[in-house]
Symmetry: C2
Subunit: 244 residues, 2 copies
DNA sequence: CAGTGGTCTAGACCACGCC
DNA sequence: GCGTGGTCTAGACCACTGG
């Protein structure tokens, strides 16, 4: 590892970035599983032939990217798609009054379909590709609040038809069944009028203003994995965004 | 600085945090102005009696919080509320097609008013306090797209009435005229139906779904400074949110 | 070429969790 | 008490900027 760097201006990559890439490789390959305790800084430093400080910098960057969790006195763990973390990181709809609570969800239907234009573009699928399409309703405080349509590449999620049920926490499902880690996501929000079917599902009048959230979620390698379109009732809740 | 720490479990603060607090104090007091080049790491280390590495860590944290800008070979500068940075950090409405462009804006009216309940709560104002209330329209690609109402504490923004005009970039105005730096903001989004006055201002039908963004912006000390309510037409644009 | 931030190293000590 | 991550130091060298 010590001499992978040519030291020319072109293509110079700091050592700690190379270390980071190498460690991310282990996550992608599944050598390190979510929740697992990874070797200590000293061990990694010895094994990779760099100083402890360089290892530390790589681990710090990965921690900032929510890939690892470090606990003083215990060690460094691979981040898990656990409820609490997902809630904080990926679920931005919160009731106006209280703090956030994880919404339950009921599946309306799911089926294998030919990908439409939006799905092909968002998920980088070839023409004629198939997707799994899931429709569900999420409740906030017991009241239907979000209608969601989730699309997944059928080629990537092989064996999806064998599922007996679809859990509430999909990112854990992706992780455990397909070893896919969601690393980041991009959301685009618009205000739209409720369609007839959305109105029926959410128990509101047709034409009610809904917050439409289109999310594309990416894996560790930067490939799009999931397209999720949510239509949200926002009379008692809002989408929270922190700008820092 | 070396011995401000009691080394007891209670109230332990790392040195670099103390350094950071001390440097932030200079920003709050205005000793260091936006755009200014601050002393080099070595100078600061000597002046404060700590190692260069400790200074570096404090500066890195402040850079991550967008308070400083570091440029290799040149030095470390106090961050400016410049168009380009504001655009990236605080303006999340982008056209569906292109990349982001800074919107122009036209002031509809501004006046001093008695603060309403929402303003008192958001800005932590006492009962009976006064605010400056600004109404403006922002255009995206030449078309009216956003109707905004901005509220500022009259007690904090003294002399506001003396302004001959209100510029497009308000955060630069706050910085230059009142030495207030906006450090972070929280936005809450809902979908609402266009009111009669919004419809008139935006040239859409009454009842059109609008994206309503309520922003509270905070200064370096964490005090709320600005309440901004935006109603956005989202037929040709969207609100972009990155989840990492 | 001098000065700045960026990287890398080596070693010491501290706070924390667990046994 | 031991091992972990977290802090702090000191010093070397590298990459970038500007004169």
């Amino acid at each position: 590892m010590a001499d992978t760097n040519t030291r020319t201006t072109f293509g110079y990559r700091p050592l700690y970035i190379q270390v980071k890439d190498s460690l991310i490789r282990r996550l992608i390959d599944g050598a390190w599983q979510p929740g697992q305790l990874i070797p200590s800084e000293m061990e990694l430093a010895r094994a990779m032939g760099v100083s402890q400080g360089t290892i530390r910098k790589a681990l710090d960057v990965m921690t900032a990217e929510n890939l690892l969790v470090r606990r003083q006195g215990r060690g460094t763990y691979v981040a898990e798609p656990a409820e609490s973390r997902i809630l904080f990181q990926y679920f931005r709809i919160v009731p106006d009054s209280d703090e956030a609570s994880f919404p339950d969800s009921s599946i309306l239907r799911w089926s294998r379909e030919k990908a439409n234009g939006a799905e092909r573009e968002s998920l980088a699928l070839p023409k004629g590709a198939a997707v799994w399409r899931i429709a569900r309703i999420r409740n906030l405080g017991g009241v239907p609040a979000i209608a969601e349509t989730i699309s997944l590449s059928a080629a990537r999620f092989t064996g999806f038809e064998a599922l007996v049920s679809i859990p509430n926490n999909l990112y854990r499902l992706y992780s455990e069944n397909w070893r896919i880690t969601i690393a980041r996501a991009r959301e685009k929000l618009k205000a739209v009028a409720a369609s007839k079917s959305d109105a029926g599902a959410l128990g509101c009048a047709e034409g009610t203003p809904l917050l439409r959230v289109v999310r594309v979620a990416f894996d560790l390698e930067g490939n799009p994995v999931e397209l999720r379109v949510s239509r949200c009732l926002t009379d008692q809740a809002h989408y929270l965004s922190e700008l820092k």
